[in-house]
Symmetry: C2
């Protein structure tokens, strides 16, 4: 089917998916470009494909052939992609044994990068605090490189959920700039939960209290801290080995 | 001394430092906020301080008390800082034994994050290829968190400079998505040079040919690659241990 006009109602509706409010109302979000569309499709989340007229991508989903102007209207990228996918939001899966908790990560690029690394280093579930950046923000989705479809990602109130994990036998690891155990020397339990804090302030005090152990990454004393995406990735890398 | 008007010639000149052309002409660049200004000052690079009238920062440099509108005009941040520093560009220092080469890193956030990690993990010199993002771009400077002042950073033509390093006894390590040696098992030489490639394409072919060894980070097969800032940081972390 073709859509020719940028004023088409569907185009208007899809464009609104750049706003969290409309993503929440519709339970849908946008992915841009072939790589992300393929990941969405493989994992059963792709609902609709919008593709530039003249291009071909033979997937078994509802497909609209659209103009460049329509793709330009929907995307937030400066260089519009030749295809955009409309996806259903992720379904909740089982928690698994390896959990990463993100306490108020604000930067969409950092959040996306962390999701990508979590998939690389075999995390089963990522738990986002309620005040984190929105998982379905187009910048987050892009930075995941499609890996959001390969990890279970849920949003929870941490102050009530982490005690439940503790009761369920998960070892709770927090991170600290100073003090604690060097992540190199950490003896790792089979069921664990790593908590990473906000870019500026680290883990909230009420969450820190719930930790069984604090861990740190050894570094040159001139450098106070690492980017949170980097710090999280190094910790997950160590624990995966 | 006070500056009141956004049309003051100094204010106009400082604002131009957001463009590479003017940074290159003047050999100056901008840092924003207390943390970066302190790092610049400690390392002898701060030349001029612009501070909001009513605020105090007693540093032994030329200081102008300015209006909020002036700070807003100069900064590229949505929330203007209360102080901005004008710095001289970095002076070239000795190479040292541990070198990181960045072949065409494009994203300013990635470049800044890598510089921060390089300082954390004791790299002596970072060599940027000529087509990398500009080191003095305000986004790069911010993402370094001031760590650019603690590492020697130079720009070189890689195809002529890497052979010189090789002749000088540096072991040259490249990175590959598949093949090569797991970075966990790398026997590390005292003088080495790690080459990291561009976000999309990795290391250029002509540079890859110069490598003594290719290394990779082991990860889940669902994940094709890591963010380049993360991959670089993990490799530097491993080699630092």
């Amino acid at each position: 089917m073709n859509i020719e006009s940028v004023n088409n109602q569907k185009v208007k509706d899809y464009t609104k998916l750049n706003q969290k409010k409309y993503r929440d109302e519709s339970n849908l979000f946008i992915v841009e470009g072939l790589n992300l569309i393929n990941e969405a499709y493989k994992n059963g989340y792709l609902k609709t494909l919008l593709i530039e007229k003249g291009k071909v991508l033979p997937l078994d989903v509802e497909t609209y052939y659209v103009t460049k102007d329509i793709l330009k209207k929907i995307t937030t990228l400066d260089n519009p992609p030749t295809m955009i996918g409309i996806c259903e939001k992720l379904k909740e899966k089982e928690l698994g044994d390896k959990i990463l908790v993100l306490d108020e990560i604000q930067d969409p690029g950092n959040l996306g990068t962390i999701i990508r690394s979590a998939c690389a280093f075999n995390i089963d579930t990522i738990i986002l605090s309620e005040d984190s950046a929105d998982l379905y923000n187009p910048k987050v989705v892009r930075a995941t490189q499609g890996m959001l479809f390969n990890v279970n990602i849920i949003v929870k109130d941490l102050s009530t959920f982490i005690p439940l994990l503790k009761m369920d036998g998960y070892k709770i690891y927090g991170t600290a700039v100073d003090g604690g155990v060097n992540v190199k020397n950490l003896e790792c339990y089979s069921k664990y939960c790593i908590i990473m804090g906000n870019e500026g302030n680290g883990i909230s005090d009420n969450i820190k209290k719930l930790c069984d152990k604090l861990i740190y990454i050894s570094m040159n004393e001139k450098c106070e801290s690492l980017n949170v995406g980097v710090a999280t990735s190094i910790i997950l890398y160590e624990l995966n080995n």
